[in-house]
Symmetry: C2
Subunit: 409 residues, 2 copies
């Protein structure tokens, strides 16, 4: 039978024989009850695989010094390990287990799952260190591993699962068309005609203010540590006014004025979002410190400020739009002012930045024209619009900041 | 702006504050040019996220002893890293680069890719250790890293990319519906109504004998090391006759008779496949040693044998069908004979078998009713059909073998 499934052997040392053509000697076969049951066989379609006849002549032996195949297989099938976690978050398994250990059968009942599939699902999560298990067999009870217990239980202050929910219901699928994105440069998300039906997914995230807020809290949970670091690490001593562009719920403004009470901060985002920012800022008792502005940063005339920040904004756009924003920020800054961009900065040597490079490719899949950049790229752009110089500061890698300095008067 | 993209910060130690409800003080906002540009906003759909109002009251600070978030994020976004490799194999980038180093621009031209996306793609592969790079910037030239150079260049005897091609064009997408598979127990592959159009993909793999053979060579490349190990490691001294069920191109039979020239082997597979097996066996000059039988092992009356083998067969089926095959094998074995199953055996404690458990979940996604098993499961089944005892032998983990012994007469 054909095996279409994940196989993950390693290479063992064996006598190495270079491939060679063995003379064709004819054949001698016993046949019995011919039978063919391939699904969808018989239709000839454009080839995805080209033919390499030499291939079928090889003896498939590996030399003693063959490199270990496993890292390649691990990366090649990592999508399935990743998907197991994303589905667990999507089903909210970890919140369920936070209430107490459950058997596979109890999990199946609570989450309405196909009973026979649950032990493999749970034990795969166990082997990936996401669950723990007490006992064996049908009576065994599963609990959350340390990481999901801390980060993936909804309703706790440390929940960071919102991003994984997004991956589970959107990004995983859209990355399935990464090849096309690479061939065409075209976004593969809801905007692609193929995904006309995905409108529902999008609406389920943003359909109500409550959902929108929950989503932004979830996304904010992943960037808030870097924002807090910026509020502490950068010198805010001489800063009177701060403007955060695309500030979402105003989390960065909250961090800035909490750590630097002399600063007056303004957070700008679209009207529907800024309504939520107002609520969030009020809850934190910072209403007097932070102004909330509604509008698109493309249209809104930036107020004068000593520091302008953009967190995960610049990477959303193509170079032309990036330059428009940088110019606009330059013009709005007071003499001696600073523009700060928080992003997944690619290392200048572009050799080891896995998360930043994946993020940039994610822009290709999910954000028309967007791309991430190095601090050297940023330095070139900001000098072009008039800034004096720039520097990079480490926040919470891979989220870091670049700061562009405008000359004093 | 909303950020929908992959973010991968780590948690840093900060003063831990338990979440609390801050009194609502009212708001004070500046609005300007209200503007809303969310894609697909405004439609209210069934919630995928439930609401947890307490969540929005937290201060999102992490305690000093917060566990490192990075392993969780790495696993959560591993699908995209995996997809980058699969797309590189799908585009046959590594075969292209085996002919000599190329710049990003030359790669884009040769593979007809969107030029601006290629540097991030190539540098992501570089950072994942799949490529190397000489130089920087537009003149930099990329070459294959050691693993792709060895395993992912088509037309070489060590090519193992066929499996990744399958992942790229089939399994990645079907795993996108893993949640549904878990909820319904239903296969998510070409047989699912959603994938009616995927018929073309299937046909492109099996539409011609040449493609079918190439595919089977590719799959065989991943199991052949384990087959060779079985041929060497098991005691074949007393064996006269061997029958391999679902033998594909007859690779296992070739290994058995090469290592144990006294054995007469029969390889059984569907007619279309056994035609190819005949060619392959003839090329290896083993036609006199190996009989080729055509048919389905469900219908074919097994010939008597001292050893019957099934490589990656048993895991394809549900328990009822597994038992039918085991019974049929028992009946066909000579007294003192052995049944050998090569599969991704799940460890008996089901605690650390990531590849085997993912394989079993892959059966859920791609093979109706199929599942992998432990050697203890196997032992129970074979005793039920009359075997005396069984043992596990290590081949090339995670591919291992279980051997069931029939009593002598």
């Amino acid at each position: 039978m054909l095996n279409l499934a994940i196989v993950q052997p390693t290479v063992v040392g064996n006598g190495w024989q270079p491939y060679c053509t063995v003379p064709f000697k004819g054949s001698n076969c016993h046949t019995s009850q011919p039978h063919l049951n391939y699904r969808h066989s018989g239709v000839n379609c454009p080839a995805l695989f080209s033919s390499h006849s030499i291939f079928s002549f090889n003896t498939m032996t590996a030399p003693p010094d063959a490199p270990d195949l496993r890292p390649l297989l691990d990366l090649g099938v990592a999508f399935s390990a990743s998907r197991v976690l994303l589905t667990a978050v999507e089903l909210d398994l970890f919140t369920l287990l936070s209430r107490g250990p459950l058997t596979a059968s109890e999990i199946a009942t609570a989450l309405k799952l196909h009973q026979p599939a649950v032990p493999d699902f749970a034990d795969a999560l166990l082997s990936l260190n996401m669950l723990t298990r007490e006992g064996d067999g049908p009576e065994a009870r599963y609990s959350n591993g340390p990481l999901p217990a801390y980060y993936l239980v909804k309703g706790t202050p440390t929940y960071k699962g919102g991003f994984f929910e997004m991956c589970a219901i959107r990004l995983y699928q859209y990355w399935g068309h990464f090849t096309e994105a690479l061939q065409t440069g075209r976004c593969q998300n809801e905007s692609h005609p193929r995904n006309a039906g995905a409108k529902d997914v999008w609406s389920s995230i943003f359909g109500t203010d409550e959902k929108l807020e929950e989503f932004m809290q979830a996304m904010g949970a992943l960037t808030n540590d870097a924002q807090r670091e910026l509020a502490k690490k950068m010198d805010w001593g001489t800063v009177s006014s701060h403007l955060d562009l695309g500030g979402a719920l105003g989390l960065l403004s909250c961090e800035v004025v909490s750590a630097n009470p002399h600063v007056k901060s303004t957070t700008l985002d679209l009207e529907r979002v800024s309504k939520l920012a107002r609520k969030n800022i009020a809850r934190r008792g910072l209403t007097d410190k932070i102004s909330i502005a509604s509008g698109s940063f493309w249209d809104w005339p930036f107020t004068k400020a000593d520091v302008i920040t953009m967190g995960l904004i610049l990477h959303d756009y193509d170079l032309e739009k990036k330059m428009v924003l940088l110019r606009k920020a330059y013009d709005a800054l007071n003499p001696g002012g600073r523009l700060v961009a928080i992003d997944h900065l690619i290392e200048d040597d572009r050799r080891g930045s896995v998360p930043a490079l994946l993020m940039s490719l994610n822009m290709l899949v999910d954000q028309e024209g967007g791309f991430d950049f190095t601090s050297r790229d940023f330095d070139g752009w900001v000098k072009e619009v008039g800034f004096d110089h720039s520097e990079k500061i480490e926040l919470v890698p891979p989220l870091n900041a670049v700061i562009a300095y405008k000359k004093g008067s």
